[in-house]
């Protein structure tokens, strides 16, 4: 038989069923619990902000690819969708819609497509969008809404500032942690999401749940999230142990702000994190350390977005220096 329909290609002739698209949509699925919590806490505001971010990210990707870059349009690969969701998760509910659109343009246009599109960006697009907004509109970006009006049961629990913000302000006014701790939500509330903050960083529990899903589905490995959280826990723990009156305890640091969101979803972005496990550990320790330094000594109450972006810049260097061990290199002959 010599049929023209026979395909000739080099081995391997089989492929696993994993695709990039599947990976992106797995992350989207993992974010659903956290999104549901934010809907519960912020109501329509969360829905609107998330929808606007997703829609504008997809639209900008489409427009830029089609008319500016004149390349194949890749809005169905799930990555722009994911950038939209993550951008929304990193901003306060109730941020003016036009600002969300600006953030999306920066994330997709500058952080992603100007570098060459999916796979070529050095920095996490959603975080670039968020940090751009934070630097340009510091007031609106730190205006944390109180609970939705018709949901009175939460009115007391949700304050007008984030936990980390309250602590930072309090310490600057010379208050001690004992005084401050009366004003911040309890650890249980932070775990459940009854606290102030960005749309996606409400409930540590929901975020961890999604993170576990990602680890089980092998979308991410445990190295980055665990090492970031361990580093934050250890470093803040040391300060708290030395001076508990001026430093918040590690539990507060781990459960508040974007620590969990950042560790599981932002830092693990495949494109902007190292390739090897060794590299991932170095990367994660760096993020944890920079986050703690900014939180404790910097001007901003929260620093994980900056920390991730700073470490993103080191990824090529990390990939170059932390290579996998080559089979058969530097071995001792051991013939018994």
């Amino acid at each position: 038989m010599d049929s023209p329909q026979i395909v000739i290609s080099a081995s391997p002739h089989v492929h696993s069923d994993r695709t990039s698209k599947r990976i992106m949509y797995d992350v989207v699925i993992a974010l659903i619990p956290a999104f549901l919590v934010s809907l519960y806490v912020f109501g329509y505001n969360a829905l609107i902000a998330t929808s606007v971010a997703i829609f504008s990210c997809l639209l900008f990707e489409y427009l830029i690819q089609k008319y500016l870059m004149k390349t194949e349009v890749t809005i169905t690969d799930g990555s722009a969708l994911l950038t939209g969701i993550l951008l929304a998760f990193n901003i306060p509910a109730g941020l003016p819609i036009w600002m969300i659109i600006v953030g999306s343009l920066v994330a997709i246009g500058i952080a992603k497509l100007s570098f060459g599109g999916l796979g070529f960006n050095v920095f996490n697009p959603a975080l670039v969008g968020r940090v751009f907004l934070l630097v340009c509109f510091p007031v609106q970006m730190t205006l944390w809404p109180t609970a939705v009006e018709n949901n009175t049961s939460l009115a007391d629990a949700v304050s007008g500032a984030t936990t980390l913000g309250i602590i930072k302000d309090g310490l600057q006014f010379g208050e001690t942690m004992t005084e401050i701790s009366a004003k911040i939500p309890s650890s249980v509330n932070m775990l459940l999401g009854i606290t102030g903050g960005s749309i996606g960083e409400m409930s540590a529990l929901a975020l961890i749940l999604g993170g576990l899903y990602l680890i089980i589905r092998k979308v991410i490995s445990w190295h980055i999230p665990v090492m970031i959280l361990v580093t934050i826990g250890l470093m803040t723990g040391i300060f708290w142990f030395i001076d508990p009156e001026h430093y918040a305890n590690p539990i507060i640091h781990l459960l508040s702000g974007g620590a969990i969101l950042g560790a599981f979803y932002m830092a693990t972005d495949l494109v902007t994190s190292p390739m090897t496990k060794k590299g991932m550990v170095i990367f994660a320790i760096g993020i944890g350390a920079i986050t703690v330094v900014i939180r404790l000594f910097g001007a901003y109450p929260e620093g994980i977005s900056f920390a991730i972006l700073i470490m993103n810049a080191f990824v090529p260097l990390i990939n170059n220096y932390f290579k996998p061990r080559r089979f058969g290199s530097k071995i001792k002959a051991k013939i018994t």
């Binding site: 038989m1 000739i8 002739h13 090897t276």
Partner: protein, 442 residues
């Protein structure tokens, strides 16, 4: 804990459709096409001519050098042509075409010999016969066995490893051979142990072949010198370097050989061929071939004469199924796609895999998302994405520094890539150029 190699590896679906099917004997073909280059190294030199009558097992092409091998006539018959025939590489190769003499009874005699345990040959005679009888590695690499066994003085070998891993999906030729010829294989191991003067042999079998593991454990219960190692099911467990690492925890040095760590590895099929040669004077003229595929009527294992056209095998399992898009000579991970089913079975043909249209096409290659999956699965500790990139950009020297030459071409990287990037295609290409550049420098 089952033994395995520490870094990398994948778990493709096993699809061993034929593992419970006894090896059947394929009817003697009317015509055989025997290529003279069935092994790695120098092709054999033809020593017969057109119209010559040949006996079964007669040498028809003589070894062309040290790294080469004799080729024997698989049938008794008449040489009709010395021709260029397309072989499994897709190129025309010199071939000896023999028409089977249907009246000659030796063609149809039973080649199933009774088990013979006593080894009467001296080590030197054993090695000579392995060389004379055209034995090459039957695992797929077809490296002439006598070259592997020719250990230079001063090099100490302390362990013989028998490769019964068969980690390629679909293939069951070695599995069936182990089940059906276990005692012969054990005698074959003893033959090699005496030839090499080693007193330790380990049979490595992947744990998805529990029956073979149990059988060999049972048969070697009183043999202190022969051990059975059940190995974790993980591709490429059967790669020589991975197997040695898994069983002995020894790592063959970069660009080195198993000899460097005191080991020789042989495939179970090769061991059986050696047994046949030493105990029953039978040269390598047939082998086990798995003919398989999800849409085939009756996927089976066969004893096949070297030189049998693949067509005959496909006819025997019910013919080419509707919608066939790919024919693979070998397994799905490392086998070669062929276009033409007239090509003959050679010493290296371990299986024929028929792939249907739903599985034949590759996914569209997308941007690398830098997930690092290829780095994770590479059993050699390489960075496939980087090697592809360097090859694409023509940076071969750098690719050489990044150890592109140590790639064993197992295909794990291409298998896992979620963006369907043709990593191994580029790496193979890069290896070729890097090798040429290196040799032109010297």
């Amino acid at each position: 804990m089952l033994k395995t190699f520490p870094k990398g590896g994948i778990h493709p679906p096993e699809n061993k459709l034929t593992s419970s099917k006894k090896i059947k004997r394929l009817p003697v073909p009317k015509v055989v096409y025997v290529p003279i280059a069935q092994h790695i190294g120098i092709p054999a030199e033809i020593i017969v001519d057109r119209k010559d009558k040949v006996e079964i097992g007669q040498v028809i092409a003589k070894s062309g050098g040290f790294v080469s091998s004799n080729i024997h006539s698989p049938v008794a018959g008449t040489v009709t042509k010395l021709d260029m025939v397309i072989d499994s590489s897709g190129y025309k190769k010199q071939c000896i075409v023999i028409r089977t003499d249907v009246k000659n009874e030796s063609n149809f005699q039973d080649i199933e010999y009774p088990l013979k345990k006593e080894i009467s040959l001296e080590p030197i005679e054993i090695l000579k016969r392995i060389s004379d009888f055209g034995i090459v590695g039957l695992g797929g690499a077809t490296f002439p066995s006598h070259v592997k066994l020719n250990v230079k003085e001063g090099i100490k070998i302390d362990c013989l490893i028998i490769n019964g891993v068969e980690c390629e999906p679909y293939l069951t030729a070695d599995h069936r051979l182990m089940l059906e010829k276990a005692e012969e294989i054990i005698v074959g191991i003893k033959i090699l142990m005496s030839a090499l003067h080693v007193n330790k042999a380990v049979i490595g079998i992947e744990n998805n072949k529990r029956d073979a593991v149990e059988l060999f454990k049972h048969l070697t219960a009183n043999e202190k010198e022969i051990q059975v190692a059940a190995l974790q099911v993980k591709y490429p467990q059967g790669g020589e370097k991975q197997l040695i690492r898994a069983i002995l925890k020894r790592e063959v040095p970069k660009n080195g050989l198993p000899l460097d760590v005191g080991v020789i590895v042989h495939n179970v099929g090769t061991i059986f061929a050696i047994y046949q040669a030493i105990q029953h004077n039978q040269p390598l003229i047939e082998r086990v071939v798995t003919v398989t595929g999800k849409k085939l009527g009756d996927p089976s294992n066969f004893w096949v004469k070297i030189g049998t056209p693949i067509n005959d095998l496909i006819e025997e399992v019910g013919g080419m199924p509707e919608g066939t898009r790919k024919i693979v000579n070998g397994g799905p991970m490392m086998g070669k796609a062929i276009k033409n089913t007239d090509v003959p079975v050679t010493k290296g043909t371990s299986g024929i895999l028929i792939i249907n249209e739903d599985e034949a096409s590759r996914g569209e290659a997308k941007n690398c998302i830098r997930c690092g999956e290829c780095v994770d699965v590479c059993p050699m500790g390489l960075e496939p994405h980087l090697l592809m990139n360097l090859t694409e950009k023509g940076m071969y020297e750098k690719a050489g520094q990044e150890d592109i030459m140590t790639c064993i071409e197992c295909g794990s990287c291409s298998y896992v890539c979620p963006s369907h990037r043709p990593l191994l295609d580029y790496i193979r290409f890069g290896k070729n150029i890097t090798k040429k550049l290196a040799s032109s420098k010297n």
